[in-house]
Symmetry: C2
Subunit: 412 residues, 2 copies
């Protein structure tokens, strides 16, 4: 991997084993220099799954396959290769996904449509599928519980560190485990980007509940981050529940009080993974939190927050540690959502800079300039839309020379 992002966590976290999830990874030869590039997760019989996918209209055949496969709510395996996105590869691309799923199904003794497939990497290059199918028997033999770090590393592309998060939660009197891993560092924008995330629990949750939990927690995590406004063709987040934790109260609705702790913990894991993607944003040196309040709706708040988070001028100013808050004002203005420009307020690092459509009389730049020198930048904007109570928080990183260097020469 390239040198670690300055925002990377010190090390891969210790994650709980999730009963009913066995993992293995290998280097099948798609990536150069023998780097690991193939991961399989085996899921116990009876596992329920839910998925969320890219909204791109040029989505790859693996996304097309998974969208259909998650409909039955069951999953027995997830197979992911990195180094080749298998996108814009025509009929062969779709056939390669089917071949991969069938090979895994045969090895694990399940139906092909219980196998979920993801691919990430370069677009428009035929997938060397034989490398995958040849390597799969070895991977199947190596499957074991708790191999999170190896799995997380095998799905990386331009990532500078593998990303994992996990915790335990209580459902009734029973302790259940939640753990997952993710990848992504460029082409990251709302509605999924080149971003893969897999989260597992040994709780027993019916597929309809799982779907709602995934949607709810994605909206405030993977769908609330942006690195560069580019959305990918392969984005996938899967949530799987094995039901192997031991008996707990049966849950049939997302608002069941017994699910309260689980929901909170699942959100924490999802948010942690999403934040790690931002921390690994290509070239990132600063982690930026943008909170918008006082908007006409939560949706409007998110549009405005993303307008700020995606503004190259805001992001380069932050890279340059320049307290150029005027660019935040401009980004709010271009979002097109209802605001009151004469009453809106902009704060950076907790310091309110504006009032009545102008800088505050006693505004002093020094404390803001000092905040800009740190690694964590907080932007808060109240847009003062009349009667507006909509709010949203999104996360992004700065735009630096590193981004240009990484993306100017990705394929070579």
């Amino acid at each position: 991997m390239p040198p670690k992002s300055p925002l990377a966590p010190k090390s891969f976290p210790k994650l709980p084993a999730v009963a009913g999830v066995r993992l293995a990874a290998t280097a099948c030869g798609i990536k150069k220099r023998g780097r690991p590039d193939l991961m399989v997760a085996e899921l116990a019989p009876g596992t329920t799954v839910a998925g969320m996918f890219t909204k791109s209209l040029t989505a790859g055949p693996a996304v097309v396959w998974d969208r259909a496969a998650v409909k039955n709510g069951r999953g027995r395996a997830i197979v992911v290769n990195a180094g080749n996105a298998n996108v814009f590869t025509g009929r062969k691309g779709a056939a390669d996904v089917r071949a991969t799923a069938m090979a895994v199904a045969k090895l694990l003794g399940c139906a092909a449509d219980d196998v979920l497939v993801s691919s990430t990497g370069v677009i428009g290059v035929p997938l060397p599928v034989a490398k995958i199918t040849r390597a799969l028997p070895g991977v199947a033999k190596a499957l074991k519980e708790g191999a999170w770090a190896a799995a997380a590393e095998a799905i990386c592309t331009t990532d500078t560190f593998p990303k994992g998060a996990g915790t335990t939660a209580r459902i009734g009197g029973t302790t259940v485990r939640i753990a997952g891993f993710a990848k992504g560092s460029g082409m990251i924008a709302p509605n999924m980007a080149t971003m893969l995330g897999y989260v597992f629990t040994d709780a027993a949750l019916p597929a309809p509940v799982l779907r709602k939990l995934l949607k709810e927690t994605c909206d405030r995590s993977f769908n609330a981050i942006t690195v560069d406004s580019d959305t990918s063709t392969s984005d996938t987040v899967l949530l799987a529940a094995t039901g192997q934790a031991g008996k707990h109260p049966k849950v049939s609705r997302i608002d069941d009080p017994a699910l309260k702790d689980f929901r909170k913990k699942l959100q924490a894991v999802m948010t942690d993974l999403a934040h790690q993607i931002v921390r690994d944003g290509e070239g990132a040196t600063k982690f930026i939190t943008v909170k918008v309040t006082g908007a006409a709706s939560d949706r409007a708040a998110k549009v405005i927050a993303m307008s700020i988070a995606n503004s190259p001028l805001v992001k380069t100013a932050i890279a340059g540690e320049d307290a150029n808050w005027g660019r935040i004002v401009a980004a709010v203005g271009k979002a097109g959502e209802r605001i009151d420009a004469d009453r809106m307020t902009v704060s950076v690092g907790g310091v309110r800079i504006t009032e009545n459509g102008a800088p505050r009389k006693n505004y002093k730049e020094a404390p803001v300039a000092c905040h800009m020198k740190g690694q964590y930048i907080d932007i808060a904007v109240d847009v003062a839309a009349k009667g507006g109570r909509g709010e949203a928080t999104v996360w992004t990183c700065d735009l630096t020379h590193g981004y240009i260097t990484i993306n100017g020469d990705y394929r070579s």
Copy 2:
């Protein structure tokens, strides 16, 4: 000015004097190091004007003033300062615009609402309006025909060269002149960006015709370019017709056959100015033309073309001279407009790369790689929407280290 863009024209063009337009510029002390920062254009009595402005909801008070002032269709003067955008400056900001307009009106003997005002530069800093009003009498004395280069230079901010374009046209048997100048190099996106443009003709054109001409030609010029997807608070394009060229057939409708040559020439001048802004895109080393065909409508085609032109991944790949056409496919997919991914085609430098949703069998990268090394990059995408005949062409530049350097430290 900073070192000239490698895409800059060799020199400022020779432009025809436009009868009824007198110009002058000076350094009033807003910019540092005595650089020119104040420009006045005096327009003959009877001049008609039309304006197009930023759609930003945090538009500055000069834009608010001009929007109201152009309604009567008359204009006697344009005054522009650079170095301070007078945006987000509260009540003082609006008062400063009024004071500037009144000072010019008094000097030239016209009504204040016949004076159009623009400001460009940093946001959120009170305008030192006294510097402007003190300098105006000297500027008024220096007014003369044909001082285009001085006017163009005085409105620049991060521009690396002044931008001008002009030509002559025939209306009936009469020769009329068209000339103008513009500024802008960052914060450039459709719907105007930190972009100012002023175009003058000595034809006699009623204000309603002028408005339609401006809208039509802007849509295919200033509103078809993007540098960084950021829209500014101050964007303004004004078109003024002095009627001093000498008698020509009266024109009362935009589709009057007598106007055909003028329309074409006006479009050429507007497009030339817009292209010069892209050529001066912050950090630009390549001029990129994106043409989209086969879309459901012209509007859809423009959305897709802008999605490609604004994609940081496409722009960095081009900066790196990398024929990474997969990123073009991804940018088409994220645009959200109707396409047929299995039939769409992508061409770069005139070489068709894809067919049937995959790279062509005999696709060879060498000629495309060679095209990528040039300064002019052509991207053509036919999105094959069923029955689609919509098309659009937009222009942008690459995203380089230069952009980061310029914008990471703009204010210091």
